[in-house]
Symmetry: C2
Subunit: 314 residues, 2 copies
């Protein structure tokens, strides 16, 4: 099979042996696979794939057709449309994964959308609801709202009855984010807004002092991205006075049972909204698998609204 | 009535009018009332009492006898032995409080112990269990284990089946803390211990970097005291990789319903242990109310094992 492959800190597309599904596993023919910031870091050599995932094929989310099933698989048949968060290896023509990681692709969802859905929506849902316990009526700030997780977070919070504010640095992206249901602000104006019950922080440490200032009593900050820096100065007295908490999280390092649990929550809470057309997956650009290098360049250039996705026609 | 009173940033004992219980309130004759670090800060003018509490009479915990009840009180009768966390005013011969804040003093518990129990044990229980979700078998670090909240935290965590480590700076205090059920370590040696699932941080910001280093995956840090400093540098990437969280909390500012809820949890989970003799309240020194100034000097001097308490014989 063909696969995006890390060779000397660059992405090339090379041949690999087809993987074979083991007990409880399914073989998926990739139709679409999104790029994520962690892929870029992995290419640079700083974020090795977890044990059990291929070290040289990036990709943490996949959508495609089941083409074979291993012994003991109970839920899926060849021909089923599935999507999943995985530890790595998704940017390839074929991928083997445990059947409990997969969720069905709703009718009417395109492959392009499905390939950009799993990582962003699972990350945002886990952070907003499983960790931060977001409740109807609460005020949410999505800090860095124009990217993959940001656009997912805005839509999920709005669908749950929260009041959503999105901070977006690039003025050109603000109308797009507003169209998803958020009041959109310049991050430099944050101190004039709030208080917020939940903050989804996708940019990093430089935002944390202002985040604490605009956090409500009982507020929760979920830190999911630190592209702008990881060393934050936190005023612990403010954290105490507000009876607040700060979460950090990643999906990739979680064991099978935790990833499968997150998949079940997505199936219960988010797929019905997708099926009803209440949630969309903004895709800023799609490239054939053979042009994976260009897709990485596009991702690296920034200024995106939503996802960059690889497609595989086969 | 007589009461410890803040006059020009010092504690003196002066006369005040007796308070009168309103609807749903009880009048308690104080028998014992513990000192807490927040009292010292309030005397210095930096921590005003919450609305509804006297601004000039300190004291956030009380034990005593009900001497009168207001209209609508259903649970208590004159003569009942009660104790409670309150917003202020406890270091006085009489205090009015809402009946839902009080819990019964178990038979066999002395007034001295009861006066030092509510704030420390409610704070420690709330942080370890309600916030951090401590589970049987987990490893706990109590950072600053010799004080009031520290000795409470060690005993509660041990009683819940956790493995407890206490860090204690003063070597002279370490055997006392060990007698409560903790492995006791020098805070400077922390990096050789752990990983810990839950850290109860009672000292402050200088400990946070080492705390993050010794925190387990899914670890929770509950920050309750910042006497050594509040400005902490936090590595958000470490927080993400460990899928960890940091809580800050105080009891004093909580509204009636939150304080009453905390009291119910203490009643369910901690008072049975007190009644069974499985928990003790270490009291390092007790002073009559008229000598409140000396009690504050003793508290300020440090090097305590457990509580400093005021007593009122009347």
């Amino acid at each position: 099979m063909r696969a995006a492959t890390i060779v000397e800190r660059r992405i090339v597309v090379t041949d690999h042996p087809d993987p074979v599904p083991g007990h409880g596993e399914i073989l998926v023919a990739m139709r679409a696979a999104g790029l994520n910031a962690a892929d870029l870091i992995q290419v640079m050599g700083a974020y090795p794939a977890p044990p059990g995932s291929p070290q040289d094929i990036p990709g943490m989310e996949i959508a495609g057709e089941v083409v074979a099933i291993g012994a003991g698989v109970t839920r899926w048949q060849p021909g089923d449309r599935v999507m999943a968060v995985v530890g790595g290896g998704a940017q390839a023509a074929r991928l083997v994964l445990h059947e409990r990681l997969a969720v069905p692709v709703p009718d009417g969802m395109t492959w392009e959308e499905a390939g950009g859905f799993p990582e962003a929506f699972t990350t945002a849902h886990d952070a907003l609801f499983t960790q931060a316990g977001l409740a109807m009526g609460e005020g949410v700030l999505v800090s860095g709202a124009a990217g993959g997780v940001g656009t997912a977070g805005v839509q999920l919070a709005a669908a749950a009855g929260a009041r959503v504010t999105g901070s977006v640095r690039d003025p050109a992206r603000r109308p797009d984010v507003a169209s998803l249901g958020a009041e959109v602000i310049d991050p430099g104006e944050l101190r004039h807004h709030g208080p917020f019950d939940v903050i989804l922080e996708l940019v990093g440490a430089p935002n944390m002092a202002a985040n604490l200032d605009v956090l409500a009593t009982h507020g929760r900050i979920a830190v999911i991205g630190v592209g702008a820096g990881a060393a934050a100065e936190i005023n612990l007295m403010a954290l105490m006075t507000k009876r607040a908490r700060i979460h950090g999280s990643t999906l990739r390092a979680r064991p099978l049972e935790a990833k499968a649990d997150a998949a079940r929550r997505i199936e219960v809470s988010v797929l019905p909204l997708v099926a009803a057309g209440r949630i969309r997956v903004p895709v800023t650009a799609a490239f054939p698998l053979e042009r994976a290098g260009e897709a990485y360049e596009r991702f690296r250039a920034g200024g995106k609204f939503g996802k960059v996705v690889l497609l595989n026609a086969e």
